[in-house]
Protein backbone atom coordinates (compact mmCIF):
# COMPACT_ATOMS: atom_id res chain seq x y z
CA UNK A 1 0.00 0.00 0.00
CA UNK A 2 0.96 3.66 -0.19
CA UNK A 3 0.37 6.02 2.73
CA UNK A 4 -1.42 8.96 1.12
CA UNK A 5 -1.01 11.57 3.85
CA UNK A 6 0.25 14.98 2.76
CA UNK A 7 -0.49 17.13 -0.21
CA UNK A 8 1.09 15.22 -3.11
CA UNK A 9 0.93 11.51 -2.29
CA UNK A 10 -1.27 10.68 -5.28
CA UNK A 11 1.38 11.96 -7.68
CA UNK A 12 4.57 10.07 -8.59
CA UNK A 13 7.26 10.71 -5.93
CA UNK A 14 8.53 14.27 -6.27
CA UNK A 15 12.01 14.86 -7.64
CA UNK A 16 14.40 17.06 -5.65
CA UNK A 17 13.78 19.79 -8.20
CA UNK A 18 10.02 19.58 -7.60
CA UNK A 19 10.55 19.55 -3.84
CA UNK A 20 12.73 22.66 -4.11
CA UNK A 21 10.00 24.47 -6.07
CA UNK A 22 7.43 23.72 -3.35
CA UNK A 23 9.82 24.81 -0.62
CA UNK A 24 10.54 28.02 -2.52
CA UNK A 25 6.78 28.67 -2.70
CA UNK A 26 6.58 28.32 1.10
CA UNK A 27 9.57 30.56 1.73
CA UNK A 28 8.13 33.12 -0.69
CA UNK A 29 5.03 33.24 1.48
CA UNK A 30 7.12 33.82 4.59
CA UNK A 31 6.45 30.37 6.04
CA UNK A 32 9.09 28.47 8.02
CA UNK A 33 9.76 24.97 6.69
CA UNK A 34 10.34 22.07 9.04
CA UNK A 35 11.68 18.62 8.20
CA UNK A 36 10.00 15.82 10.17
CA UNK A 37 10.51 12.06 10.10
CA UNK A 38 8.86 8.98 11.58
CA UNK A 39 8.57 5.22 11.33
CA UNK A 40 5.07 5.30 12.83
CA UNK A 41 2.80 6.67 10.09
CA UNK A 42 -0.47 6.10 11.99
CA UNK A 43 -3.05 8.60 10.66
CA UNK A 44 -3.30 10.19 14.11
CA UNK A 45 0.40 10.29 14.88
CA UNK A 46 0.60 14.09 14.88
CA UNK A 47 4.08 14.56 16.25
CA UNK A 48 6.72 13.23 13.90
CA UNK A 49 10.30 13.75 15.09
CA UNK A 50 11.80 17.12 14.17
CA UNK A 51 15.04 17.30 12.21
CA UNK A 52 16.26 20.42 13.96
CA UNK A 53 14.00 23.44 14.24
CA UNK A 54 11.72 25.00 11.63
CA UNK A 55 13.99 27.03 9.34
CA UNK A 56 12.97 30.60 10.07
CA UNK A 57 14.33 33.57 8.10
CA UNK A 58 15.47 31.43 5.19
CA UNK A 59 15.25 32.80 1.61
CA UNK A 60 16.65 30.02 -0.55
CA UNK A 61 15.21 26.52 -0.86
CA UNK A 62 18.72 25.12 -1.40
CA UNK A 63 19.36 25.30 2.35
CA UNK A 64 16.28 23.18 3.07
CA UNK A 65 17.24 20.66 0.40
CA UNK A 66 20.69 20.35 1.95
CA UNK A 67 19.12 19.56 5.32
CA UNK A 68 16.72 17.10 3.69
CA UNK A 69 19.63 15.21 2.17
CA UNK A 70 21.39 15.12 5.56
CA UNK A 71 18.20 13.75 7.09
CA UNK A 72 17.89 11.15 4.33
CA UNK A 73 21.42 9.92 5.05
CA UNK A 74 20.36 9.06 8.60
CA UNK A 75 16.66 8.24 8.20
CA UNK A 76 16.34 7.29 4.52
CA UNK A 77 14.34 4.18 5.47
CA UNK A 78 11.60 6.22 7.17
CA UNK A 79 8.86 8.65 6.20
CA UNK A 80 10.10 12.22 5.89
CA UNK A 81 7.80 15.18 5.33
CA UNK A 82 8.08 18.92 4.88
CA UNK A 83 5.76 21.08 6.99
CA UNK A 84 5.45 24.80 6.41
CA UNK A 85 4.30 27.00 9.29
CA UNK A 86 2.49 30.29 8.80
CA UNK A 87 2.64 32.56 11.84
CA UNK A 88 0.05 35.10 10.60
CA UNK A 89 -2.77 35.97 12.93
CA UNK A 90 -5.86 33.90 12.25
CA UNK A 91 -3.84 30.94 10.96
CA UNK A 92 -0.79 30.21 13.15
CA UNK A 93 -0.52 26.63 11.98
CA UNK A 94 0.67 24.44 9.11
CA UNK A 95 -0.08 25.71 5.58
CA UNK A 96 1.43 22.95 3.51
CA UNK A 97 2.66 19.48 4.35
CA UNK A 98 3.91 16.79 1.96
CA UNK A 99 5.88 13.56 2.09
CA UNK A 100 9.34 13.68 0.50
CA UNK A 101 10.72 10.27 1.46
CA UNK A 102 9.12 6.93 2.22
CA UNK A 103 10.28 3.38 3.01
CA UNK A 104 10.80 1.05 0.06
CA UNK A 105 8.13 -1.28 1.31
CA UNK A 106 4.98 0.03 3.02
CA UNK A 107 3.13 -2.83 4.72
CA UNK A 108 0.25 -0.58 5.80
CA UNK A 109 -2.29 -1.00 8.55
CA UNK A 110 -4.45 -3.68 10.07
CA UNK A 111 -7.93 -2.81 11.29
CA UNK A 112 -8.89 -4.46 14.57
CA UNK A 113 -12.55 -4.77 15.45
CA UNK A 114 -13.82 -5.20 18.97
CA UNK A 115 -17.48 -6.10 18.93
CA UNK A 116 -19.57 -4.26 21.51
CA UNK A 117 -23.28 -4.18 22.34
CA UNK A 118 -25.93 -2.98 19.90
CA UNK A 119 -23.88 -4.02 16.86
CA UNK A 120 -21.32 -1.36 17.79
CA UNK A 121 -17.73 -1.99 16.83
CA UNK A 122 -14.69 -0.30 18.36
CA UNK A 123 -12.05 0.11 15.70
CA UNK A 124 -8.29 0.24 16.19
CA UNK A 125 -5.90 1.00 13.33
CA UNK A 126 -2.51 -0.67 13.80
CA UNK A 127 0.55 -0.25 11.65
CA UNK A 128 2.13 -3.63 10.82
CA UNK A 129 5.55 -2.02 10.95
CA UNK A 130 4.97 -0.38 14.34
CA UNK A 131 4.67 -3.78 16.02
CA UNK A 132 8.47 -3.71 16.10
CA UNK A 133 10.43 -1.26 18.25
CA UNK A 134 11.19 2.19 16.90
CA UNK A 135 14.21 2.15 14.60
CA UNK A 136 13.77 -1.52 13.76
CA UNK A 137 10.75 -0.99 11.51
CA UNK A 138 10.87 -1.06 7.70
CA UNK A 139 14.01 -3.23 7.88
CA UNK A 140 16.00 -0.23 9.08
CA UNK A 141 18.94 0.18 11.34
Amino acid sequence: MRVTQGCFSFLPDLTDEQIAAQVQYCLGNGWAVNIEFTDDPHPRNTYWEMWGLPMFDLRDAAGVLMELNECRKVYGDRYIRMSAFDSSHGWESVRLSFIVNRPKDEPGFRLERHEAGGRNIRYTTKSYAADRPEGGRYGGK
Binding site: M1, V3, T4, Q5, C7, F8, S9, F10, L11, P12, Q18, A21, Q22, Y25, P41, H42, P43, R44, T46, S83, A84, H89, G90, W91, E92, S93, V94, R95, L96, S97, F98, G108, F109, R110, L111, R119, N120, I121, Y123, T125
Partner: protein
Protein backbone atom coordinates in the same frame (compact mmCIF):
# COMPACT_ATOMS: atom_id res chain seq x y z
CA UNK B 1 -32.80 61.31 -2.86
CA UNK B 2 -31.55 62.28 0.56
CA UNK B 3 -33.95 65.06 1.48
CA UNK B 4 -34.36 66.80 4.82
CA UNK B 5 -35.69 65.24 8.00
CA UNK B 6 -39.48 65.53 8.26
CA UNK B 7 -39.76 64.25 11.81
CA UNK B 8 -42.54 65.87 13.77
CA UNK B 9 -41.30 66.66 17.27
CA UNK B 10 -42.83 67.43 20.66
CA UNK B 11 -46.52 67.03 21.55
CA UNK B 12 -47.71 66.91 17.94
CA UNK B 13 -45.76 63.72 17.32
CA UNK B 14 -48.08 61.80 19.65
CA UNK B 15 -51.49 63.12 18.56
CA UNK B 16 -53.85 60.15 18.10
CA UNK B 17 -54.36 59.00 14.52
CA UNK B 18 -52.29 57.92 11.57
CA UNK B 19 -49.05 59.65 10.62
CA UNK B 20 -46.61 58.97 7.81
CA UNK B 21 -43.65 56.84 8.90
CA UNK B 22 -41.22 59.44 7.57
CA UNK B 23 -42.73 61.97 9.96
CA UNK B 24 -42.63 59.64 12.96
CA UNK B 25 -38.83 59.58 13.23
CA UNK B 26 -38.04 56.56 11.04
CA UNK B 27 -36.44 58.75 8.37
CA UNK B 28 -33.42 60.62 9.75
CA UNK B 29 -31.10 61.59 6.87
CA UNK B 30 -28.75 63.39 9.25
CA UNK B 31 -28.32 60.39 11.52
CA UNK B 32 -24.72 59.16 11.76
CA UNK B 33 -24.80 55.44 12.63
CA UNK B 34 -22.95 54.53 15.82
CA UNK B 35 -20.15 51.91 15.78
CA UNK B 36 -22.44 49.71 17.86
CA UNK B 37 -25.47 49.98 15.56
CA UNK B 38 -26.57 47.09 13.41
CA UNK B 39 -27.09 48.37 9.87
CA UNK B 40 -29.36 46.61 7.38
CA UNK B 41 -29.46 47.31 3.67
CA UNK B 42 -32.78 46.58 2.01
CA UNK B 43 -33.74 46.64 -1.64
CA UNK B 44 -37.15 48.32 -1.49
CA UNK B 45 -39.63 48.15 -4.37
CA UNK B 46 -42.56 50.41 -3.40
CA UNK B 47 -46.04 49.96 -4.86
CA UNK B 48 -46.77 52.35 -7.72
CA UNK B 49 -47.25 55.88 -6.41
CA UNK B 50 -45.68 55.22 -3.00
CA UNK B 51 -42.89 57.66 -2.12
CA UNK B 52 -39.61 55.70 -1.80
CA UNK B 53 -38.62 57.65 1.33
CA UNK B 54 -41.94 56.83 2.97
CA UNK B 55 -41.64 53.17 1.93
CA UNK B 56 -38.12 52.97 3.37
CA UNK B 57 -39.15 54.72 6.58
CA UNK B 58 -41.98 52.21 6.85
CA UNK B 59 -39.47 49.35 6.59
CA UNK B 60 -37.48 50.92 9.44
CA UNK B 61 -40.67 51.38 11.45
CA UNK B 62 -42.18 47.96 10.88
CA UNK B 63 -38.88 46.20 11.65
CA UNK B 64 -38.53 48.08 14.95
CA UNK B 65 -41.04 49.94 17.12
CA UNK B 66 -43.84 51.13 14.85
CA UNK B 67 -47.38 50.01 14.39
CA UNK B 68 -49.88 51.45 11.88
CA UNK B 69 -51.08 54.23 14.13
CA UNK B 70 -49.65 56.52 16.77
CA UNK B 71 -49.66 55.04 20.29
CA UNK B 72 -49.29 57.08 23.45
CA UNK B 73 -47.41 54.26 25.19
CA UNK B 74 -44.32 55.23 23.15
CA UNK B 75 -44.02 58.10 25.59
CA UNK B 76 -43.30 55.69 28.44
CA UNK B 77 -40.07 54.62 26.67
CA UNK B 78 -36.87 56.10 25.32
CA UNK B 79 -38.64 55.80 21.97
CA UNK B 80 -36.13 57.78 19.95
CA UNK B 81 -33.39 55.31 20.84
CA UNK B 82 -35.46 52.27 19.93
CA UNK B 83 -36.73 53.59 16.60
CA UNK B 84 -34.77 52.13 13.69
CA UNK B 85 -33.60 55.01 11.54
CA UNK B 86 -33.48 54.97 7.79
CA UNK B 87 -30.63 57.36 7.04
CA UNK B 88 -30.01 56.92 3.34
CA UNK B 89 -32.03 55.93 0.28
CA UNK B 90 -30.36 55.47 -3.13
CA UNK B 91 -31.94 54.48 -6.43
CA UNK B 92 -30.59 51.06 -7.52
CA UNK B 93 -28.39 51.54 -10.62
CA UNK B 94 -30.17 50.58 -13.86
CA UNK B 95 -33.24 49.29 -12.01
CA UNK B 96 -36.15 51.76 -12.13
CA UNK B 97 -38.55 51.52 -9.20
CA UNK B 98 -36.00 49.92 -6.84
CA UNK B 99 -34.21 51.66 -3.98
CA UNK B 100 -31.44 50.75 -1.55
CA UNK B 101 -32.49 51.78 1.96
CA UNK B 102 -29.87 51.89 4.74
CA UNK B 103 -31.40 51.40 8.17
CA UNK B 104 -29.63 51.62 11.54
CA UNK B 105 -30.79 49.71 14.62
CA UNK B 106 -29.64 50.38 18.18
CA UNK B 107 -27.91 47.35 19.73
CA UNK B 108 -30.35 47.38 22.66
CA UNK B 109 -33.07 46.19 20.30
CA UNK B 110 -31.50 42.74 20.21
CA UNK B 111 -30.90 39.87 22.58
CA UNK B 112 -27.22 38.92 22.67
CA UNK B 113 -26.27 35.73 20.84
CA UNK B 114 -29.68 34.95 19.31
CA UNK B 115 -30.19 34.67 15.56
CA UNK B 116 -33.87 33.95 16.18
CA UNK B 117 -34.26 37.28 17.93
CA UNK B 118 -32.36 39.20 15.26
CA UNK B 119 -34.33 37.70 12.41
CA UNK B 120 -37.71 38.10 14.12
CA UNK B 121 -37.14 41.87 13.86
CA UNK B 122 -35.25 42.26 10.63
CA UNK B 123 -37.17 39.79 8.49
CA UNK B 124 -40.36 39.63 10.54
CA UNK B 125 -43.69 41.29 9.70
CA UNK B 126 -42.07 43.82 7.44
CA UNK B 127 -41.75 41.44 4.47
CA UNK B 128 -45.52 41.26 4.11
CA UNK B 129 -46.12 44.99 4.36
CA UNK B 130 -48.75 46.00 1.75
CA UNK B 131 -47.30 49.34 0.48
CA UNK B 132 -44.27 47.40 -0.80
CA UNK B 133 -44.31 45.34 -3.96
CA UNK B 134 -41.22 43.52 -2.84
CA UNK B 135 -38.46 43.71 -0.27
CA UNK B 136 -35.05 42.11 -0.13
CA UNK B 137 -32.49 42.12 2.66
CA UNK B 138 -29.23 42.58 0.75
CA UNK B 139 -26.60 42.88 3.46
CA UNK B 140 -26.02 43.66 7.15
CA UNK B 141 -23.23 45.34 9.08
CA UNK B 142 -22.86 43.53 12.39
CA UNK B 143 -20.94 45.53 15.00
CA UNK B 144 -18.09 43.84 16.89
CA UNK B 145 -20.01 44.32 20.13
CA UNK B 146 -22.74 42.09 18.69
CA UNK B 147 -20.45 39.60 16.90
CA UNK B 148 -18.72 38.91 20.21
CA UNK B 149 -21.96 37.66 21.78
CA UNK B 150 -21.87 34.60 19.49
CA UNK B 151 -19.83 31.41 19.76
CA UNK B 152 -19.04 31.28 16.04
CA UNK B 153 -17.97 28.15 14.12
CA UNK B 154 -17.52 25.22 16.50
CA UNK B 155 -14.22 24.13 14.96
CA UNK B 156 -13.07 26.58 12.27
CA UNK B 157 -10.96 25.98 9.18
CA UNK B 158 -7.56 25.85 10.92
CA UNK B 159 -8.54 23.37 13.62
CA UNK B 160 -10.47 21.27 11.12
CA UNK B 161 -7.30 20.99 9.03
CA UNK B 162 -5.22 20.17 12.11
CA UNK B 163 -7.62 17.43 13.18
CA UNK B 164 -7.73 15.93 9.71
CA UNK B 165 -3.98 16.45 9.10
CA UNK B 166 -4.71 17.89 5.65
CA UNK B 167 -3.00 21.10 4.59
CA UNK B 168 -2.35 23.09 1.45
CA UNK B 169 -5.14 21.88 -0.79
CA UNK B 170 -8.93 21.94 -1.00
CA UNK B 171 -10.61 18.98 0.67
CA UNK B 172 -12.46 16.52 -1.52
CA UNK B 173 -15.89 15.10 -0.90
CA UNK B 174 -18.80 13.35 -2.56
CA UNK B 175 -22.47 13.05 -1.80
CA UNK B 176 -23.68 9.47 -1.86
CA UNK B 177 -25.98 8.82 -4.82
CA UNK B 178 -28.69 7.82 -5.46
CA UNK B 179 -29.75 9.97 -2.57
CA UNK B 180 -32.79 7.84 -1.80
CA UNK B 181 -33.31 4.10 -1.76
CA UNK B 182 -29.95 2.55 -0.90
CA UNK B 183 -29.92 0.13 2.02
CA UNK B 184 -27.45 0.82 4.80
CA UNK B 185 -25.16 -1.91 3.54
CA UNK B 186 -25.13 -0.64 -0.04
CA UNK B 187 -24.78 2.93 1.12
CA UNK B 188 -21.64 2.13 3.13
CA UNK B 189 -20.16 0.50 0.02
CA UNK B 190 -20.27 3.82 -1.82
CA UNK B 191 -18.63 5.56 1.15
CA UNK B 192 -15.84 2.98 1.36
CA UNK B 193 -15.04 3.06 -2.35
CA UNK B 194 -14.97 6.85 -2.54
CA UNK B 195 -12.81 7.30 0.56
CA UNK B 196 -10.39 4.54 -0.34
CA UNK B 197 -10.07 5.97 -3.85
CA UNK B 198 -8.80 9.27 -2.46
CA UNK B 199 -11.61 11.48 -1.18
CA UNK B 200 -11.40 12.98 2.30
CA UNK B 201 -15.14 13.05 2.98
CA UNK B 202 -18.40 11.49 1.95
CA UNK B 203 -21.71 13.09 2.67
CA UNK B 204 -25.32 12.22 3.36
CA UNK B 205 -27.72 14.19 1.26
CA UNK B 206 -30.08 16.71 2.81
CA UNK B 207 -33.10 14.41 2.81
CA UNK B 208 -31.34 11.29 4.08
CA UNK B 209 -32.63 11.03 7.63
CA UNK B 210 -34.35 7.81 8.72
CA UNK B 211 -36.61 6.32 6.11
CA UNK B 212 -38.15 2.91 5.47
CA UNK B 213 -35.32 1.88 3.13
CA UNK B 214 -32.58 2.84 5.63
CA UNK B 215 -32.88 3.80 9.27
CA UNK B 216 -30.35 6.14 10.77
CA UNK B 217 -28.56 3.73 13.12
CA UNK B 218 -27.98 1.29 10.30
CA UNK B 219 -26.54 4.03 8.12
CA UNK B 220 -24.24 5.28 10.87
CA UNK B 221 -22.89 1.79 11.64
CA UNK B 222 -22.18 0.86 8.02
CA UNK B 223 -20.71 4.28 7.26
CA UNK B 224 -18.28 4.08 10.16
CA UNK B 225 -17.19 0.61 9.05
CA UNK B 226 -16.45 2.19 5.67
CA UNK B 227 -14.61 5.16 7.19
CA UNK B 228 -12.40 2.97 9.37
CA UNK B 229 -11.63 0.53 6.57
CA UNK B 230 -10.65 3.41 4.29
CA UNK B 231 -8.45 4.95 7.00
CA UNK B 232 -6.59 1.68 7.40
CA UNK B 233 -6.24 1.28 3.64
CA UNK B 234 -4.73 4.74 3.12
CA UNK B 235 -3.21 5.85 6.41
CA UNK B 236 -5.25 9.05 6.19
CA UNK B 237 -7.96 10.47 8.45
CA UNK B 238 -11.33 10.11 6.69
CA UNK B 239 -14.84 11.26 7.48
CA UNK B 240 -18.42 11.08 6.36
CA UNK B 241 -21.01 13.73 7.24
CA UNK B 242 -23.66 11.85 9.15
CA UNK B 243 -26.88 13.82 8.77
CA UNK B 244 -28.53 14.13 12.19
CA UNK B 245 -31.46 16.24 10.95
CA UNK B 246 -34.63 14.96 12.62
CA UNK B 247 -38.07 15.99 13.81
CA UNK B 248 -37.09 17.12 17.30
CA UNK B 249 -34.03 18.36 19.17
CA UNK B 250 -34.14 15.22 21.32
CA UNK B 251 -33.87 13.04 18.22
CA UNK B 252 -31.02 15.14 16.85
CA UNK B 253 -29.06 14.96 20.09
CA UNK B 254 -29.57 11.19 20.20
CA UNK B 255 -28.21 10.80 16.66
CA UNK B 256 -25.32 13.18 17.25
CA UNK B 257 -24.36 11.34 20.44
CA UNK B 258 -24.33 8.06 18.56
CA UNK B 259 -22.13 9.54 15.82
CA UNK B 260 -19.67 10.69 18.46
CA UNK B 261 -19.72 7.33 20.19
CA UNK B 262 -18.82 5.67 16.88
CA UNK B 263 -15.84 7.97 16.42
CA UNK B 264 -17.08 10.12 13.54
CA UNK B 265 -15.15 13.38 13.08
CA UNK B 266 -18.09 15.21 11.50
CA UNK B 267 -21.89 15.43 11.53
CA UNK B 268 -24.29 17.44 9.43
CA UNK B 269 -27.54 19.35 9.73
CA UNK B 270 -29.90 21.01 7.26
CA UNK B 271 -30.75 24.71 7.19
CA UNK B 272 -34.44 23.81 7.44
CA UNK B 273 -34.08 22.76 11.09
CA UNK B 274 -34.19 26.46 11.96
CA UNK B 275 -31.87 29.02 13.48
CA UNK B 276 -32.33 28.00 17.10
CA UNK B 277 -31.73 24.33 16.39
CA UNK B 278 -28.63 25.25 14.40
CA UNK B 279 -27.24 27.25 17.32
CA UNK B 280 -27.98 24.37 19.69
CA UNK B 281 -26.15 21.91 17.45
CA UNK B 282 -23.21 24.31 17.11
CA UNK B 283 -22.88 24.36 20.89
CA UNK B 284 -23.14 20.58 20.98
CA UNK B 285 -20.43 20.36 18.32
CA UNK B 286 -18.07 22.64 20.29
CA UNK B 287 -18.63 20.55 23.43
CA UNK B 288 -17.97 17.30 21.58
CA UNK B 289 -15.01 18.17 19.30
CA UNK B 290 -17.19 17.65 16.24
CA UNK B 291 -17.00 19.41 12.89
CA UNK B 292 -20.49 20.68 11.97
CA UNK B 293 -21.52 20.65 8.32
CA UNK B 294 -24.53 22.69 7.21
CA UNK B 295 -26.44 21.80 4.05
CA UNK B 296 -28.32 24.93 2.93
CA UNK B 297 -31.47 23.01 2.02
CA UNK B 298 -34.31 25.39 1.24
CA UNK B 299 -32.34 28.61 0.91
CA UNK B 300 -33.15 29.16 -2.76
CA UNK B 301 -36.81 29.66 -1.88
CA UNK B 302 -35.84 33.07 -0.48
CA UNK B 303 -32.31 33.85 -1.70
CA UNK B 304 -32.51 33.40 -5.43
CA UNK B 305 -34.80 36.14 -6.72
CA UNK B 306 -33.31 39.57 -6.74
CA UNK B 307 -36.43 41.53 -5.82
CA UNK B 308 -37.72 39.71 -2.76
CA UNK B 309 -36.28 37.70 0.09
CA UNK B 310 -32.90 37.55 1.78
CA UNK B 311 -29.55 37.49 0.01
CA UNK B 312 -27.44 34.41 0.68
CA UNK B 313 -24.64 36.70 1.86
CA UNK B 314 -26.82 37.59 4.84
CA UNK B 315 -27.60 33.92 5.51
CA UNK B 316 -23.84 33.21 5.40
CA UNK B 317 -23.23 35.95 7.99
CA UNK B 318 -25.93 34.58 10.26
CA UNK B 319 -24.54 31.06 9.94
CA UNK B 320 -21.03 32.21 10.83
CA UNK B 321 -22.46 33.78 13.96
CA UNK B 322 -24.61 30.71 14.66
CA UNK B 323 -21.53 28.51 14.60
CA UNK B 324 -21.49 26.00 11.72
CA UNK B 325 -18.14 24.89 10.28
CA UNK B 326 -19.09 24.05 6.69
CA UNK B 327 -21.60 25.84 4.47
CA UNK B 328 -22.52 25.27 0.85
CA UNK B 329 -21.70 28.52 -0.89
CA UNK B 330 -21.77 27.85 -4.64
CA UNK B 331 -19.46 26.51 -7.32
CA UNK B 332 -19.59 29.22 -10.03
CA UNK B 333 -19.00 26.59 -12.73
CA UNK B 334 -21.45 23.89 -11.59
CA UNK B 335 -25.14 23.24 -12.12
CA UNK B 336 -26.57 25.53 -9.41
CA UNK B 337 -27.09 29.31 -9.35
CA UNK B 338 -23.93 31.32 -8.77
CA UNK B 339 -22.55 34.44 -10.41
CA UNK B 340 -18.72 34.52 -10.00
CA UNK B 341 -18.51 37.96 -8.35
CA UNK B 342 -21.46 37.36 -6.00
CA UNK B 343 -20.06 33.94 -5.07
CA UNK B 344 -16.67 35.52 -4.31
CA UNK B 345 -18.47 37.78 -1.86
CA UNK B 346 -20.01 34.77 -0.07
CA UNK B 347 -16.63 33.04 0.15
CA UNK B 348 -15.04 36.16 1.63
CA UNK B 349 -17.77 36.31 4.28
CA UNK B 350 -16.99 32.71 5.23
CA UNK B 351 -13.21 32.99 5.35
CA UNK B 352 -11.90 36.50 6.01
CA UNK B 353 -11.37 38.05 9.43
CA UNK B 354 -12.31 41.42 7.94
CA UNK B 355 -14.51 41.95 4.89
CA UNK B 356 -13.80 45.28 3.22
CA UNK B 357 -16.78 46.86 1.44
CA UNK B 358 -16.72 45.57 -2.14
CA UNK B 359 -19.78 46.60 -4.12
CA UNK B 360 -18.65 44.71 -7.20
CA UNK B 361 -18.95 41.49 -5.13
CA UNK B 362 -22.22 42.58 -3.52
CA UNK B 363 -20.52 43.29 -0.18
CA UNK B 364 -21.99 46.61 0.99
CA UNK B 365 -20.25 47.07 4.33
CA UNK B 366 -16.91 46.72 6.05
CA UNK B 367 -17.47 43.73 8.33
CA UNK B 368 -15.05 42.90 11.15
CA UNK B 369 -15.30 39.33 12.45
CA UNK B 370 -13.27 39.89 15.60
CA UNK B 371 -11.39 36.55 15.42
CA UNK B 372 -14.56 34.48 15.15
CA UNK B 373 -13.54 31.16 13.53
CA UNK B 374 -13.65 30.83 9.76
CA UNK B 375 -16.27 28.74 7.97
CA UNK B 376 -15.19 26.29 5.29
CA UNK B 377 -17.23 26.93 2.14
CA UNK B 378 -18.41 23.84 0.25
CA UNK B 379 -18.75 23.71 -3.52
CA UNK B 380 -21.18 21.06 -4.67
CA UNK B 381 -23.37 20.36 -7.69
CA UNK B 382 -22.34 19.49 -11.23
CA UNK B 383 -18.55 19.84 -10.93
CA UNK B 384 -15.90 17.44 -12.27
CA UNK B 385 -12.14 16.89 -12.49
CA UNK B 386 -11.81 18.68 -15.84
CA UNK B 387 -12.74 21.98 -14.15
CA UNK B 388 -10.04 21.73 -11.44
CA UNK B 389 -8.08 24.80 -12.59
CA UNK B 390 -11.24 26.92 -12.73
CA UNK B 391 -12.42 25.71 -9.33
CA UNK B 392 -9.07 26.52 -7.73
CA UNK B 393 -9.04 29.93 -9.39
CA UNK B 394 -12.59 30.89 -8.39
CA UNK B 395 -12.78 29.25 -4.98
CA UNK B 396 -9.23 29.12 -3.60
CA UNK B 397 -7.65 26.56 -1.33
CA UNK B 398 -9.83 26.56 1.80
CA UNK B 399 -12.91 24.91 0.37
CA UNK B 400 -14.44 21.44 0.15
CA UNK B 401 -14.93 20.43 -3.47
CA UNK B 402 -17.72 17.88 -3.69
CA UNK B 403 -17.84 15.69 -6.73
CA UNK B 404 -20.92 13.47 -6.31
CA UNK B 405 -21.78 12.49 -9.86
CA UNK B 406 -18.19 13.36 -10.76
CA UNK B 407 -17.00 10.49 -8.55
CA UNK B 408 -19.77 7.92 -8.56
CA UNK B 409 -20.53 8.34 -12.27
CA UNK B 410 -16.98 7.46 -13.36
CA UNK B 411 -17.05 4.72 -16.06
CA UNK B 412 -14.51 2.58 -14.16
CA UNK B 413 -16.21 2.82 -10.80
CA UNK B 414 -16.26 4.91 -7.66
CA UNK B 415 -12.64 4.34 -6.57
CA UNK B 416 -11.43 5.35 -10.02
CA UNK B 417 -13.62 8.45 -9.90
CA UNK B 418 -12.21 9.45 -6.53
CA UNK B 419 -8.63 8.86 -7.67
CA UNK B 420 -9.19 10.97 -10.80
CA UNK B 421 -10.36 13.89 -8.69
CA UNK B 422 -7.52 13.61 -6.18
CA UNK B 423 -4.83 13.34 -8.85
CA UNK B 424 -6.28 16.30 -10.77
CA UNK B 425 -6.32 18.36 -7.58
CA UNK B 426 -2.79 17.51 -6.45
CA UNK B 427 -1.40 18.12 -9.93
CA UNK B 428 -3.06 21.53 -10.04
CA UNK B 429 -1.81 22.57 -6.59
CA UNK B 430 1.70 21.42 -7.46
CA UNK B 431 1.61 23.50 -10.67
CA UNK B 432 0.17 26.56 -8.94
CA UNK B 433 2.84 26.45 -6.23
CA UNK B 434 5.52 26.12 -8.90
CA UNK B 435 4.34 29.48 -10.20
CA UNK B 436 2.75 28.21 -13.39
CA UNK B 437 -0.16 30.04 -15.03
CA UNK B 438 -2.46 27.19 -14.03
CA UNK B 439 -5.68 28.91 -15.06
CA UNK B 440 -4.63 29.02 -18.71
CA UNK B 441 -2.46 25.92 -18.69
CA UNK B 442 -5.07 23.94 -16.73
CA UNK B 443 -6.13 21.55 -19.49
CA UNK B 444 -2.48 20.89 -20.32
CA UNK B 445 -1.60 20.23 -16.66
CA UNK B 446 -4.51 17.80 -16.37
CA UNK B 447 -3.57 16.02 -19.60
CA UNK B 448 -0.01 15.61 -18.35
CA UNK B 449 -1.20 14.18 -15.01
CA UNK B 450 -3.51 11.84 -16.91
CA UNK B 451 -0.53 10.28 -18.65
CA UNK B 452 0.32 8.42 -15.44
CA UNK B 453 -3.27 8.09 -14.19
CA UNK B 454 -5.77 6.16 -16.28
CA UNK B 455 -8.79 7.07 -14.10
CA UNK B 456 -8.12 10.76 -14.73
CA UNK B 457 -7.76 10.13 -18.46
CA UNK B 458 -11.18 8.40 -18.47
CA UNK B 459 -12.79 11.20 -16.44
CA UNK B 460 -11.48 13.93 -18.73
CA UNK B 461 -12.81 12.01 -21.73
CA UNK B 462 -16.31 11.38 -20.35
CA UNK B 463 -17.01 14.88 -19.03
CA UNK B 464 -14.96 16.96 -21.47
CA UNK B 465 -17.93 18.88 -22.89
CA UNK B 466 -19.96 19.36 -19.72
CA UNK B 467 -20.60 22.99 -18.78
CA UNK B 468 -23.57 24.81 -17.28
CA UNK B 469 -23.70 28.23 -18.92
CA UNK B 470 -26.94 29.97 -17.96
CA UNK B 471 -27.67 33.58 -17.12
CA UNK B 472 -27.42 34.24 -13.39
CA UNK B 473 -30.52 35.55 -11.60
CA UNK B 474 -28.52 37.28 -8.87
CA UNK B 475 -25.51 39.29 -10.02
CA UNK B 476 -24.15 42.45 -8.36
CA UNK B 477 -25.77 45.81 -9.07
CA UNK B 478 -22.46 47.58 -9.30
CA UNK B 479 -19.72 47.15 -11.87
CA UNK B 480 -16.10 47.17 -10.62
CA UNK B 481 -15.52 50.83 -11.57
CA UNK B 482 -18.30 52.22 -9.36
CA UNK B 483 -17.08 54.22 -6.34
CA UNK B 484 -20.18 55.26 -4.40
CA UNK B 485 -19.86 57.48 -1.37
CA UNK B 486 -20.63 56.01 2.06
Amino acid sequence: MNVQSMTVRGKDRYKSGVMEYKKMGYWEPDYAPKDTDIIALFRVTPQDGVDPIEASAAVAGESSTATWTVVWTDRLTAAEKYRAKCFRVDPVPNSPGQYFAYIAYDLDLFEPGSIANLTASIIGNVFGFKPLKALRLEDMRLPIAYVKTFQGPATGIVVERERLDKFGRPLLGATVKPKLGLSGRNYGRVVYEALKGGLDFCKDDENINSQPFMHWRDRFLYCMEAVNRAQAATGEVKGTYLNVTAATMEDMYERADFARELGSVIIMIDLVIGYTAIQSMAKWARRNDMILHLHRAGHSTYTRQRLHGVSFRVIAKWMRLAGVDHIHAGTVVGKLEGDPATTRGYYDICRQDFNPMKLEHGVFFDQPWASLNQMMPVASGGIHAGQMHQLLDHLGEDVVLQFGGGTIGHPKGIQAGATANRVALEAMILARNEGRDYVHEGPEILAKAAQTCTPLRDALEVWKDITFNYESTDSPDFVPTATPAM
